[in-house]
């Protein structure tokens, strides 16, 4: 058993280091870094490059990686990106870090090459020394992992408790505004925190390399498990994050000790452990305080007073609000008509990609519903798409149902699961919802999607298109018709009483409840609808390939989808259509027409990642912004009074979005203080 504990503690140490890095950046700067795994991978890959490929010594490689590259990355990304996120909503913060998690592995591939590295050295010299402790073999790599955690905990405690820098950090955690007024420079402190966080990412990345190899996907999964420790720590407690991280590692190892090896049950339980920790910690917290919200206890009164529009209480809202007062349908109709013409123009190869893009666009509409309209930051829409795809393949192929009925049933099953997830997360703050839905997606992927019934040795289950849409051209129009139906449903939703109520719940649950609205019903409604749309979209996606393959619905891929959609605009139906198209077609063009391989074939992914990062500056998304520009141009050409930019695109002038711009001028006879107060409500 001791041997299992020794191994478990290595994973635990990595979880603990990662959780520490995640917690300190969250409490100090308000950013939960979804790119932590990607940063860890990048620094570990750099370490491998100079240590193994360039044959530098361990100490020199580690010093350059952890004391030069990591601090540089911390300062660089703080200056270029993170400092602009201070007043952004959680949605933007999450998506920007997801964009970084897309960009970093691509950069690593461009710089260091795309060789798969299954075995990489850690900080111990090769061959790795092995010691015997109480009859149990312990490698020097493992000892170094333990020493790092112990050292970091002690060092962290001493710095935070007894140094001026530690005092400044603790002060900023309590109240950034008061820290600023006391003469400390919050920017410098934040930059310092990012430096430390990057160093922790690098350290955990290098320590993880001998255990999991050098694969960006594995790093992201490893850190996704560490999020469980962060949730258990309620995003804020370093000691709890470290303790739970260690405990999770040991628990994962002990489960393998007690359960039979090579059993499917064991294989399923191990990945479920972080989810169990998440569930238990949330239940305990909800029982203790009734609700788990990342905003609780954050900042002082002064911080709340000066945070525009209640700051991240707006959380997953898509930032620029004002409903859709001046927006007309000219632009969307023109774009949709253009898409309707494309199947007539495309040759067969391009048409086959086009039908997949349309199916993807339908799935994207589920993000538009749940995040754009419902204001809920769900990271498992791709899982619902997978549920819809796998279920419809089962109904259609295994049980002989008509395929369209099977797809609808797939949507219904996804909707039922969506409603349950909505119910389970009803008392959670938006960031917790994001983390829980991410963990749920990963769990479904490991426990359900991997079942042989669905996976079929990686081949998936075949599914045939309906007879009337068996050709790509006909199927493209079927997809466009379904897209149009859902888009109209969403437009009707947002402009109806239901939409008003949904909007109300999104902005103030207290006010909604006290005016007689049921917050639970509204959230259930949008959860179920979004999951249904995702399920149907997933079915269409499978039909486009004529195969329902679970691997196509990997949770981490869903993060990229979200980043792409938000880049184009999460509140615009037509943005979903354009995003689906742009995600697939340029990549196919580069590979097929330009015949370019890596790294050029990675350019679309890189651009989407950069686009998502660009949300720090332009949170509204590309399509909606251009649509408004188009609308103003039409007004101008038609001689009508142009829609003023401030009205048509209020978000640009929202101080939440552009801290560097002044807020709109208040009405006469209103003092700036009053405006701040109303914004702060």
């Amino acid at each position: 058993m001791l041997q299992f504990i020794v191994v478990g503690l290595v994973f635990g140490s990595i979880y603990a280091l990662a959780a520490s890095g995640l917690v300190i950046t969250y409490v100090s700067t308000g950013v939960l870094n979804f790119a932590f795994g990607a940063f860890a991978f990048f620094i570990a890959r750099f370490y491998y490059y100079i240590h193994v490929e360039k044959e530098w010594g361990i100490l020199a490689s580690a010093a350059v990686s952890l004391l030069v590259l990591a601090p540089f990355m911390g300062i660089f990304f703080y200056m270029v990106i993170f400092r602009f996120l201070r007043l952004s909503s959680q949605l933007i913060k999450v998506v920007v870090t997801i964009g970084l998690s897309v960009v970093m592995p691509v950069l690593a591939e461009i710089i260091f090459g795309n060789d798969e590295i299954f075995q990489a050295p850690g900080l111990a010299p090769q061959p790795v020394s092995v010691y015997k402790w109480f009859g149990t073999a312990v490698t020097l790599d493992q000892v170094i992992s333990y020493a790092c955690v112990i050292g970091i905990v002690i060092l962290g405690f001493l710095i935070l408790r007894f140094t001026e820098a530690g005092l400044s950090v603790r002060a900023m955690v309590d109240s950034e505004a008061m820290t600023s007024l006391s003469g400390s420079n919050p920017s410098r402190i934040a930059a310092g925190v990012w430096v430390v966080s990057m160093m922790l990412a690098g350290l955990s990345g290098i320590l993880a390399a001998p255990v999991i190899g050098l694969s960006s996907a594995k790093y992201t999964l490893l850190i996704a498990a560490a999020f469980a420790a962060v949730i258990a720590a309620r995003l804020r407690s370093l000691p709890i994050a470290v303790a739970v991280g260690l405990l999770m590692g040991v628990a994962g190892s002990l489960v393998q000790y007690y359960l039979p090896p090579d059993s499917e049950v064991t294989a399923n339980i191990v990945p479920a452990i972080p989810f169990a920790f998440v569930t238990i910690s949330l239940i305990v917290n909800i029982i203790r305080s009734g609700r788990v919200n990342e905003e609780e206890g954050v900042g002082g009164a002064l911080d709340r007073a000066i945070t525009p529009n209640g700051g991240s209480r707006l959380a997953a809202s898509a930032d620029s609000e004002n409903l859709y007062p001046k927006f007309n349908f000219t632009f969307p109709i023109i774009i949709f008509a253009f898409f309707c013409i494309l199947p007539l123009l495309f040759a067969s190869y391009w048409l086959s990609i086009f039908v997949t893009a349309i199916a993807l666009a339908v799935i994207f509409l589920s993000y538009t519903l749940v995040t754009g309209e419902g204001g809920m930051l769900w990271l498992c829409q791709i899982t619902f798409a997978g549920v819809g795809a796998l279920a419809s393949a089962q109904f259609a192929t295994e049980h002989g149902w008509p395929v369209l009925l099977a797809i609808v049933m797939g949507g219904v099953i996804a909707a039922a699961i969506g409603v349950v997830i909505g119910l389970l997360t009803i008392r959670l703050g938006n960031l917790y919802v994001a983390l829980v839905t991410l963990t749920f997606g990963l769990l479904m992927e490991r426990l359900v999607f991997n079942l042989q019934t669905f996976a079929n040795f990686g081949q998936g289950v075949a599914i045939s298109r309906p007879d009337f849409a068996s050709t790509d051209k006909a199927f493209a129009y079927l997809g466009l018709a379904i897209f149009a139906i859902f888009a109209i449903l969403i437009v009707n939703l947002r402009r109806s009483t239901t939409g008003l109520a949904l909007n109300a719940v999104r902005w103030s649950e207290n006010a909604s409840r006290t005016m007689g609205l049921s917050v639970i019903q509204m959230k259930m409604l949008v959860s179920g609808l979004a999951a249904f749309v995702a399920g149907v979209g997933g079915g269409l996606y499978a039909l486009s390939f004529k195969q329902a393959v679970p691997l196509d619905y990997a949770t981490l891929l869903g993060l990229v989808w979200l980043a792409v959609l938000v880049t184009f605009g999460v509140r615009s139906n037509i943005a979903a259509l354009v995003a689906g198209f742009m995600l697939l077609m340029p990549a196919a063009f580069i590979q097929t027409v330009l015949k370019l391989d890596s790294p050029w074939s990675l350019m679309p992914v890189l651009l989407f990642g950069l686009g998502a990062i660009g949300l720090a500056q332009n949170p509204e998304g590309v399509v909606r912004q251009n649509a408004m520009g188009f609308q103003r141009m039409i007004h101008k050409l038609s001689g009508a009074r142009a829609v003023p930019a401030a009205t048509a695109f209020a978000g640009r002038h929202d101080p939440r979005l552009r801290p560097d711009e002044p807020p709109p001028a208040p009405e006469p006879a209103t003092t700036p203080e009053e405006t701040a107060e109303v914004s702060g409500s």
Binding site: N309, L314, S317, E321, N322, L323, P325, L489, V491, N492, L493, R494, R495, S496, T497, T498, G499, L500, A501, N503, A504, R506, W507, S508, N510, A511, S512, R513, T514, M515, G516, L517, S518, V519, L525, A650, D654, P664, P666, E667, A669, T670, E674, T675, E677, V678, S679, G680, S681
Partner: protein, 281 residues
């Protein structure tokens, strides 16, 4: 502060109070926020609730509206016990409220706030049916239009009716909260510092609007205000809280002359006497 005349309820209050809080105690850990506080609001009347900062006024509002559960005591709406009822159920029983820290729906326009308030009460079915019946295309009913227009005009919101709530100055935003509360067709409205941030003219306008709804629509109001002059001017009865304890209850005149109240407001005699000042102008 501005002077406002005392309301003269047009209807004789019925025996059963429209709202009654009985022996409410709320503790937050070791802190006793409210201790055995009782209060009742007769039909078609305005009852004021005043007290220094931290007296427990907003906590009492939280208990009455259902956002907080009391450790002891009960809440009754029109004689019906609602202590354990959810806020939405209390709203359906005729309770509405505004918030000291504004809780507007930033994505909606002023008019949409009022429309939603109206529909939640009068056309509740549309919350669901609109989704499946192209509700976005349904025109406003004449009743809805009349009521919404009336409230928008009553609160002086015509010029900003189609403005998003996020673009409103504080004084206007407070009036939107009042309009939204009234749109739900309540029998009682809890107003949490409605004049905070309003200038003298706006305060007077709000006072007149409140009197109108009490007189014409027989709505009762429970009014929390820092503007003591406004409370004493508007209310038929006033309760005074201090450190979670009700230290006085009576007519405005009785409150003005109550030594305990004067002690609680030590150094703020002007406020207690309701002397008009121009500090808000």
């Amino acid at each position: 502060m501005s002077t406002v005349e005392a309301s003269q309820p047009s209807e004789v209050a019925t025996d059963t109070p429209v709202l009654e809080a009985r022996n409410i105690t709320v503790r937050f850990g070791g802190l006793v926020a409210l201790s055995d506080v009782s209060l009742s609001v007769p039909s078609a009347s305005i009852v004021g609730l005043v007290g220094p900062n931290g007296a427990g006024k907003t906590t009492l509002f939280g208990v009455v509206s259902g956002l907080l559960r009391p450790n002891q005591g009960d809440v009754f709406l029109a004689g019906k016990k609602v202590t354990g009822a959810a806020p939405a159920k209390r709203a359906r029983l005729g309770l509405a409220r505004t918030f000291q820290q504004l809780e507007l729906f930033m994505g909606l326009t002023v008019r949409e706030h009022v429309v939603l308030g109206y529909r939640v009460r009068a056309q509740r079915r549309r919350l669901w049916s609109d989704l499946f019946t192209a509700g976005a295309l349904h025109p406003e009913s004449s009743d809805e239009k009349e009521r919404v227009d009336h409230l928008v005009k009553l609160l002086g919101l015509e010029s900003v009716a189609n403005t998003a709530a996020s673009a409103l100055p504080l004084g206007t935003a407070r009036r939107v909260e009042v309009a939204r509360a009234l749109a739900t067709g309540p029998s009682i409205v809890l107003l949490d510092e409605p004049s905070s941030g309003l200038d003298g003219h706006e305060t007077a306008q709000l006072g007149a609007a409140l009197r109108t709804v009490v007189e014409e629509e027989h709505v009762s109001l429970l009014l929390v205000e820092h503007d003591v002059a406004m409370v004493l001017g508007l209310s038929s009865e006033v309760a005074v809280l201090d450190f979670g304890v009700r230290i006085a209850y009576g007519t405005p005149d009785e409150i003005r002359n109550d030594p305990a109240v004067r002690a609680a407001y030590l150094g703020d005699d002007e406020a207690v006497e309701g002397v008009q000042t121009d500090e808000k102008a």
